[in-house]
Structures are given as C-alpha cells and as structure tokens.
Symmetry: C2
Subunit: 127 residues, 2 copies
Amino acid sequence: MSVGHTGVTPQLGPCGDDDCGIRDVLDRLGDKWTVLVLVELAKGVRRFRELQRAIPGISQRMLTVTTRRLCRDGLVERTAYATIPPQVEYRLTDLGRSLAAQVVSLADWSRSHRTAIAEARERWDAL
Amino acid sequence: MSVGHTGVTPQLGPCGDDDCGIRDVLDRLGDKWTVLVLVELAKGVRRFRELQRAIPGISQRMLTVTTRRLCRDGLVERTAYATIPPQVEYRLTDLGRSLAAQVVSLADWSRSHRTAIAEARERWDAL
DNA sequence: CAGAATCCCATTCGATACTG
DNA sequence: CAGTATCGAATGGGATTCTG
C-alpha cells in the first residue's frame, strides 16, 4: 500500500476504528524479508554481506531494498566507510530496537506453535 | 513463498538457522488483511458482514479468502447456521487468541510510533 | 564489498457477476 | 447473508549483469 502522502497529514484523532496507522508499519512486516532482517539486526551490528549470509535465500537486490526501507522508516541506521573495499554497517535505531522486540517475540511465538499450525493444516487439507 | 522458478528446487534446509518456521506464520501476517481480521476478532465473535463493515476496504472475496486461511491454520473457528438468511460466526480459537495477543500488541506499537515513522520518512524523502 | 539497473514471471488483490 | 467464479492490473521479488 504505502500511501506515502507528502504534505497532507490525515488527522487520525482518537482513532475510532481499527486500521489507524497500523498499515504503515505492518505493510513492512508483511514483505518477505523485513522481519528476518530485523531479527538479525536485533543481535547486533551487521555488514551487508553478513546480513546476506545470515539470511539464506535473500537476493542482493532484496537486501538492498529491505534495508533501505528500514532506513527510511527510521528503524535502521546505515553507516558507510569510504574504504576499499567499501564497508557498510547497519544497526537498529532506538525505534527499531523497540519494534524488533515485538517482532522477536512474534518470531518466538511462531516457533512455539508451528507444529500446532502444521497439524491444523493437515486436518483441514485432509477433508 | 515458493521460490520455485522452473527447474530450481527450493531446498529449504532442515531449519538450521533462524527462519525455522517463522515464515509459516509471518507470511500470513504479511498479506493485506489478516492482521486486521485478527484484531477485529480479538474483540469478540463476528459474523461475515460484521467483519466486512468493521474492516473498511476489504472486498468480499478477500474476506472469504482471509478467514478461510485463518481457519485452515487453526486460528479461527467457523460456525455456520442453516438459517435463512444464512448466518456464519467467526471466533478465535485458543491458538488464535494467543497469536492475536501478539498482533494486538504490535498494532499498539504501530499506533504509538506512527508519527515517529512518518517523520523519519519525511526526513528521508526530503533529501 | 556494496550496491544499481533490467528483465520478467508469479502471485496478490480488486472489480464484477452469479448462487444457495 | 454468505459466499463462489472469473478476469485483468498491479505488485513483489528472483536472476542476471554492470559499477565505484
């Protein structure tokens, strides 16, 4: 979705309904890699390559896209050193850390209940 | 996720690293409506129409698809009454409630920090 | 090493129309 | 009311190639 309204602030007051601003954040968690990057960065500072190695299957492109989005949202900070070869460090901001805590907790939930879900799916598919 | 291009085997390892079964759950949270449905059902039992009214913008089709996926995963229970007109109730299972708790907490985080994120984006886009 | 730029396929989702 | 069925557009993201 990512409305990204430049200029007009949508004045969501007491937020009578649900999707207040949930979407702005959750759309990001939705994409395929953001959560995994957050979880990895929750462990500490990482370089580009380190992230890529730590997250099997992510392509160069998607790591670039994902980290940039996180930077844009103020969740991750990027530090580039003008060395040869270049070196870039990614680290969570305070804001990012507070989100990552939630995400890690969600990841834990996933691990704890994955079998229960797998079984439910089997039962469903058996019909 | 299904990385499968033609010929390429997904080859997901036996979960040696992080993404153990995170994906199974988080892919669902990723799609556009699941979180909103969970949050709404966390408030109580809802009928099909009630859900649709509570979640502005969701199409009939997507509500059907989303609720069915949640049922398949054992997170939501569906009860249909053979009345005329038909009546169908959706309610969280115990498993669903425990996930919804996490999700609601995440939604709260989103609301609390949406301005911080919006500001970060403005700063970024200003460059 | 850390990207940027293309290409292009697959999935997602919305709109619409129909049904029990 | 609570779906099902079909179609088309938009989007996500993988593979590949090139660069500072």
